[in-house]
Assembly symmetry: C2
Homo-oligomer: 390 residues x 2
Amino acid sequence: MLGNFSYSNPTRLHFGKDALDALKSELAAFGPVVQLCYGGGSIKRNGIYDKVVAALAEAGKTVVEDAGVMPNPTVDKLREGARIARENNVDFILAVGGGSTIDYAKGVSVAAHFDGDAWETFYKQQQAPAPGARILPVGAVLTMVGTGSEMNGGSVITNHEEGLKIGKVFDERVMPRFAILNPEFTYTLPRYQMVAGFFDIMSHLMEQYFSNDDDNTSDYLNEGLMRSLVSATRIAVTEPENYEARSNIMWTATWALNTLLKCGKRQDWMVHMIGQAIGAQTNATHGMTLSAVSLAYYRHVLPYGERKFARFAEIVWGVRTEGKTQREVAEAGIDALEAWMKEIGVVMRASELGVTEAMLDAVADSTIIFDSGYHQLTREEVIDIVRKSL
Amino acid sequence: MLGNFSYSNPTRLHFGKDALDALKSELAAFGPVVQLCYGGGSIKRNGIYDKVVAALAEAGKTVVEDAGVMPNPTVDKLREGARIARENNVDFILAVGGGSTIDYAKGVSVAAHFDGDAWETFYKQQQAPAPGARILPVGAVLTMVGTGSEMNGGSVITNHEEGLKIGKVFDERVMPRFAILNPEFTYTLPRYQMVAGFFDIMSHLMEQYFSNDDDNTSDYLNEGLMRSLVSATRIAVTEPENYEARSNIMWTATWALNTLLKCGKRQDWMVHMIGQAIGAQTNATHGMTLSAVSLAYYRHVLPYGERKFARFAEIVWGVRTEGKTQREVAEAGIDALEAWMKEIGVVMRASELGVTEAMLDAVADSTIIFDSGYHQLTREEVIDIVRKSL
């Protein structure tokens, strides 16, 4: 059943091979000084940087460079970015990259003119920016698919000293004003990052799907996106430049986590909580921390949500039900998920990411435990799941 | 494959049993004079009128009554509404009702301060309002589900003298600023209107689905919504006050036609074109004009899009494919559609709506023919399809 909720999403999307053509007109709505955030420089090698800078020049903007955003953006980098924004009187933040760069840009947007410690207030204490707070507008040019950050308020920041990787979901004031989605911009991404992104999308879908056992439209939409993702990723891993497959994956990723699928229902998010705890310990690629623990987690909670896991098996994976018990159907669905994971080539074991028996306590300590899925984990169960994933 | 497109949707939705609580705060953003549009007075009998007027009073608004919006709003009523808006210096238009009332409110919003004939310019000539045109903001309280008008720019107006019923899709300036969606507000709708709305939703989904034969995420989302709709309508026809079913139908209706599903793909819309031509001749209920001609239309075009019709059969209706040719699978899908239509109780024949052999020429004359589905119809084929529907 759909509960009470409000829905609105302010992000304007431009999609397709010509999407970047919209950048100049989108920029016209904002002031002259643009902070250009990007990562390690791959956008300079593949030509996207030059195209973006040309559009910024055509729009008459002054560019303030903010390079070196790392895969798991750190609190130190966030503080540096906020200082850059303040000192240069930045009017607009343009993130060119994947989820890490956009997450970082959102953090900078609220931290730049915040009179206090953004990490402490927004991430650790999960407070919202005050009404009337000065928040810099953000836009995005997406070059890596997975997080959905281009159309939501999510921002994950890591504090290695404190061993914490925390996600904050900001409100509409922080969501990108626009996002440029050209599937071709994702072609040059290394295979490891590409498939990590694919699993991140699947994880977002499953986190929102595996909660509640009643009937609601959100789950039907979710099943459609899961089917689209499985079909397209099977093509993309053998043909990375298949436009049809990459465009379907890009669009699926956006809708997998842009505030639609959660409407009116509970969500789980325990795989992300455990995965982020592993990320804080190992600095591993986000999507791979999720793939490494998902099978152990879902096999652990399956008995508590058997009916939904059986539905997942039948609708998403086409598992035949004849002659099987509901439990057998449900388990066959997770087996099908496992086969797909192997096919696309994600990390299957946490040990591949450097997680060891000795880290289990630290991982459990930094895992935030929600009571929103089919079964609330104890600390011991978290340890057991991660141990089984080693 | 997803083509180039832009997506954004400015409508804020408030959904659920408490949705009307948001009306007062939503109204705060607009000026003091509100034109209250509604239909034949059913909202006075079921108490919704009193609740809305109370919220308007709490928000300190002056209410200008604009009652009597008919099921197929006419150009005469549109002109009257525009005059009311002008003469009373209306700041905001609140539509309380179904698609007809909201469609009408959008027409009034552009006609009120337009220096010319809105019917001629926006509907017949399909022009867009000029940049900078004064367009009154619209909001909606939904009491009947089907058209999706609560979250799109669509507006259908009928001119009985000219024998024309024309839909215009306006841009974001005309889309509702907010919509209140309480599934309980739809409980008292008479069965005939309820199931007509159900079929209208299905028709919106099919019109967008049955075009293109390649693979795209929009169609996967569409299949999810079709499955949700079929499941929930089967419950709602026997239990009209089943909240779960009615809420799923309401949410499905909004997403079935709110600019998402058409992203990056072609669409058909020929059932709507023929249905609207019948509506102009008979003034029949919109959804029933669609149900009356759909089977003949889809059986006619099936050979041109056989693969997609087979996919529809398998995914939406669970048709088993073993031992069947693709054609047989495709045809079994339309048979399943027919069985569902009989189960929910829609009009199956155009003759039930008063369409006669003598009207066929007039219907064909006012049918706008698109070349966007699997097969472009000739005038003779339109006549043939309507004749088979009699």
